[in-house]
């Protein structure tokens, strides 16, 4: 790859400064976040779209922001490039407080923040090359450099040979590749993705997410992704933030959130990302133990624990061999997460307590879903 990304220097310069003053190992200072929001509020008429949002985005990370429609995701991402002015709170992006920027300075900042959209938003009257070149023309790059850069970018996103096509001649996935090339054109320090895969089929979604992951790794580009699909978060985001009614209801490492969701909404979002339906239909579950019933458990293990032989460990502590109703190991962000749904024969409270005491340390969570006479 021949792209020269000057912003890589920006990303590493903080480290150089931290290392410079002392000879002994300097305490590792937290790198300055690329984006810092403090108590951001925005109201549209009767709707409080953002209700005191605070968050930080570290350089080089892929942050997922997930929520249902109307949760305030789009308003939030539009605050990050000043397309939306919040009513209260501060938005600092690339070290600048957006509230202090005048129109021209804000435009320059937007030039350093790329954005991709659900519906691609490509200009139909321009060719692929014309679309990708537009941010460069806005930045005042001369024609020869523009042409070379456009060729590099199209190669990067796997669209060489399409330079003279019009967007209408491309498939959805190709259009989003053009959108990504266009967003990268002006060497952004930050990439905003507003539901970039929501209009694509699953296979194309996977390819586009792979491309975003590659770009993040190869260019060190920081990405903030808005989505309503937990599967997107699982595929690419190291960290995730759950938005509901304009507030952050949960945040943390993606694997952590998947293993131990704390809110009902997050649980539901995660369930929708898992391929399989419920192992035991709800109508067959009973809420309390009666002699002879199976206890239906869901256990989740993450990290290295996910790769251990879990069923054997459980059997040892419970004293009986549980039935495996469902088992899967997923990669969430970069970590493996194992989810098991088990039926423990004659699941007495004592037996479950013994199991919890003996093997509990292996699991991130152990949840009793209910009891059933016939789990299969």
């Amino acid at each position: 790859m021949t792209l020269a990304f000057s912003d890589l220097e920006d990303a590493t310069s903080g480290l150089l400064v931290a290392a410079a003053p002392a000879c002994e190992a300097a305490p590792k200072a937290a790198p300055t976040p690329l984006v810092r929001l403090t108590d951001v509020r925005k109201r549209f008429g009767a709707l409080q779209a953002l209700d005191g949002i605070s968050l930080e985005v570290a350089a080089g990370e892929i942050l997922g922001i997930i929520g249902r429609s109307g949760a305030g995701k789009s308003t939030l991402i539009r605050c990050l490039n000043g397309l939306e002015r919040p009513d209260g709170g501060t938005v600092e992006v690339l070290g600048q407080n957006l509230a202090n920027l005048r129109e021209a300075a804000l435009r320059r900042l937007r030039g350093r923040v790329g954005m991709i959209f659900q519906h691609f938003n490509l200009l139909s009257a321009k060719t692929v090359a014309g679309n990708v070149a537009l941010p460069l023309r806005i930045a005042g790059v001369d024609q020869a450099k523009r042409r070379a850069r456009v060729a590099d970018l199209l190669a990067l996103v796997g669209l060489d040979g399409k330079a003279d096509s019009y967007p209408a001649q491309l498939s959805g996935g190709q259009k989003q590749r053009v959108g990504i090339a266009r967003a990268l054109a002006a060497d952004p320090a930050l990439l905003l993705s507003d539901e970039a895969t929501s209009a694509l089929d699953p296979e194309t979604t996977a390819a586009i997410l792979q491309l975003l992951r590659d770009i993040n790794r190869q260019l060190g580009l920081t990405v903030v992704m808005i989505t309503h699909e937990m599967s997107v978060v699982r595929a690419v985001c190291r960290r995730v933030l759950v938005l509901e009614r304009g507030t952050v209801i949960e945040q943390g490492r993606t694997a952590e959130i998947f293993a131990r969701p704390r809110t009902e909404l997050t649980r539901r979002l995660i369930a929708s990302a898992q391929h399989a339906p419920e192992a035991v239909p709800a109508e067959r579950l009973e809420p309390s133990y009666r002699p002879g019933l199976y206890a239906i458990l869901r256990v989740v293990a993450q990290g290295t624990a996910a790769t251990r032989p879990l069923v054997g460990a459980l059997a040892g502590h419970a004293g009986v061999e549980p039935l495996v109703l469902r088992a899967e190991i997923d990669r969430v962000g970069t970590e493996p997460v194992a989810t098991l749904v088990l039926a423990v024969p004659d699941g007495t409270p004592e037996r479950l307590a013994a199991l919890q005491a003996g093997a509990g340390s292996l699991f991130s969570s152990l949840e009793v879903l209910g009891y059933a006479a016939d789990p299969v």
Binding site: F117, N121, L123, A125, K126, L134, P167
Partner: protein, 217 residues
Amino acid sequence: MPLIPYDHLLQAFWETVTMTAVSGAISFVLGLPLGLVLLNTAPGGLWAHASLNRGLGAIVNAFRSLPFIILLVALIPLTRLIVGTSIGTAAAIVPLSIAAIPYYARVAEVSLREVDRGLVEAVRAMGGSQLTVMREVLIPEALPSLVSGFTVTLVLLIGASAMAGAVGAGGLGDLAIRYGYQRFNTPVMVAVIVVLILLVAAIQAGGDRLARRVDHR
């Protein structure tokens, strides 16, 4: 005198073409910016300005509600001021343009309004100024529709230019009234109608072709 005065017919044809082309060009050059202003000063526009928008809208509507024949007479002093005379083809161009500018401004406003807001947002998100948004998004994206609207405006101008015969502007309409109607010369009437039909058909076909050529959607 032959049944159909071909030299008159040819001259009238060129007069009509001249009036239509010149006033059409003027209405495009001035009507498009006016359409952009109407769109962008409207609520939610790039530089929303309610009172300016309402004021301009009222003026545009006032001109559009006047029957052309009234406008033609009412504008005689202005025409005399600009052209020096109120008679002839050049003189007719003034009222024709003034009638067509607000008309095309509204047509252009509607076309420009149809442009996907997401495209405007995308270009603003990459740091584009309002001028960039207009030059790179609004006008190019609306171009097929702007061209179609302009074709309609031209056809309308051909009709209006016939009335301009009232101020001695000449043209096909004038020929049809003076020779065909007042002198009961039916062949002239028929000939004029045929030429007008061909002219309108040619403009419409040309406009459609151009609109298709600039349409990459």
